[in-house]
């Protein structure tokens, strides 16, 4: 798989800094799972984070007794166990979804367009959803406020920047106007993350708008 479209460098930096919201982070993590180039870049960015932490002024500890830390019974930060590639999906997405795409209860939101919202943590803002769009249909302009990341999981779509295939990410900001259309004969499935604070209902409403011509 040759990835042609990557998240913007500033998006990757926000991710590495831990400054990207959960919804957008899920898409970046999914892209990193399939893109070695961006994974290497993210590692360099982690190193930058380490360098910044190292160069920063210190804050004295209240208790500098390392023995207390070692025997304090605190449970250290756990890494999530490595998840094998599942259902042909990027691992971070497979972990969140917990089932193959075939078993998803899609909700029709417009002719040829189905949606499945993914849960986020209670503290998270923005939206995360899977979108399933039939051949020949447009993927509606669902932005309007904040950054938005779209990653192709199946099929392909096209817009003025080119063709987006499996693993490719379209990274747009709120001002950007675009009208992607499904490319080829295969149904296109994407994961879409938006940091827009608008209610999901409003977002879905705008989603339907371009298709119904309202």
């Amino acid at each position: 798989m040759t990835i042609q479209h990557h998240p913007d460098i500033s998006t990757l930096i926000a991710y590495a800094a831990g400054a990207l919201g959960e919804a957008l982070s899920v898409v970046v993590a999914s892209h990193l799972d399939v893109c070695g180039e961006c994974r290497r870049e993210a590692m360099r960015m982690n190193r930058l984070g380490g360098a910044i932490m190292d160069a920063s002024p210190s804050e004295p500890l209240a208790s500098s007794d390392a023995g207390v830390v070692l025997r304090g019974g605190k449970v250290p930060a756990q890494d999530r166990p490595a998840v094998p590639a599942k259902h042909g999906l990027p691992r971070p997405l497979a972990r969140l979804l917990g089932k193959p795409l075939e078993l998803i209860a899609w909700k029709a939101v417009a002719p040829g367009v189905k949606l499945y919202s993914l849960p986020l943590s209670p503290g998270a803002s923005g939206h995360l959803a899977l979108l399933k769009v039939a051949p020949g249909r447009g993927i509606p302009d669902h932005g309007h406020g904040g950054s938005e990341l779209t990653m192709v999981l199946q099929g392909a779509f096209r817009d003025e920047h080119g063709i987006y295939r499996i693993g490719d990410v379209e990274d747009i900001d709120g001002e950007h106007e675009h009208q992607p259309v499904v490319e080829g004969e295969e149904t296109c499935i994407c994961i879409i993350a938006s940091e827009a604070k608008a209610l999901f209902k409003g977002w879905a409403g705008r989603l339907v708008q371009p298709l119904t011509g309202l």
């Binding site: 831990g18 990193l32 380490g50 930060a77």
Partner: protein, 177 residues
């Protein structure tokens, strides 16, 4: 520093760990306090981060750059989890270390220690307007729009300064020594 990490990883030397804790505990605590954690939570996360290093020291290479980077990633993930109460989607470095593509290629990479040194020195020579934005992102965990609000700059300016600053650091890594 390499020696310290080796004593922690291989010899399980508690004295070496105490030294590591003395050096880096305050740095982790400072990062968390600048991110908005109170002193108690910041101290807690600093302890947890260093404890993680002790328990898993065998998993990372014995160079300073690698250890500090690992501590940063652990502390960053705890910050997302505790302060923002979101799921930290960033993987820790163990998986990255297992990824063949990430292992240092002597033909293309300058090596962990050298790369870390170059990142640090190029960071200190960045124009202040670029450095400041990268520091706000990594140290305080501020989003692009939060940085824009803090510095009273348009969002596009924040992103472009961030890209420019990072590009300079990348260029410093490409130059053969």
């Amino acid at each position: 520093m390499s020696d310290l990490m080796k004593r922690v990883a291989v010899e399980r030397d508690e004295g070496a760990f105490a030294e590591l804790f003395r050096i880096f505990g305050p740095k982790v605590k400072a990062m968390l306090m600048r991110s908005g954690a109170d002193a108690a939570m910041a101290e807690d996360i600093a302890q947890e981060t260093l404890l993680s290093v002790w328990r898993k020291a065998h998993l990372f290479s014995e160079v300073k750059g690698s250890a500090v980077t690992w501590m940063f990633t652990i502390a960053r993930n705890l910050r997302i989890d505790r302060l923002r109460r979101e799921v930290p989607w960033q993987e820790l470095s163990e998986r990255e270390l297992e990824t063949p593509e990430s292992s240092p290629d002597p033909e293309q990479s300058v090596g962990d220690e050298e790369e870390f040194a170059r990142v640090r020195s190029s960071l200190s020579t960045l124009p202040e307007e670029q450095r400041e934005i990268l520091v706000l992102a990594f140290q305080q965990g501020l989003s692009h729009s939060e940085i824009a609000g803090r510095l009273n700059l348009p969002l596009g300016t924040v992103k472009s300064r961030m890209r420019l600053g990072y590009q300079r650091i990348r260029e410093a890594l490409e130059v053969r020594s």
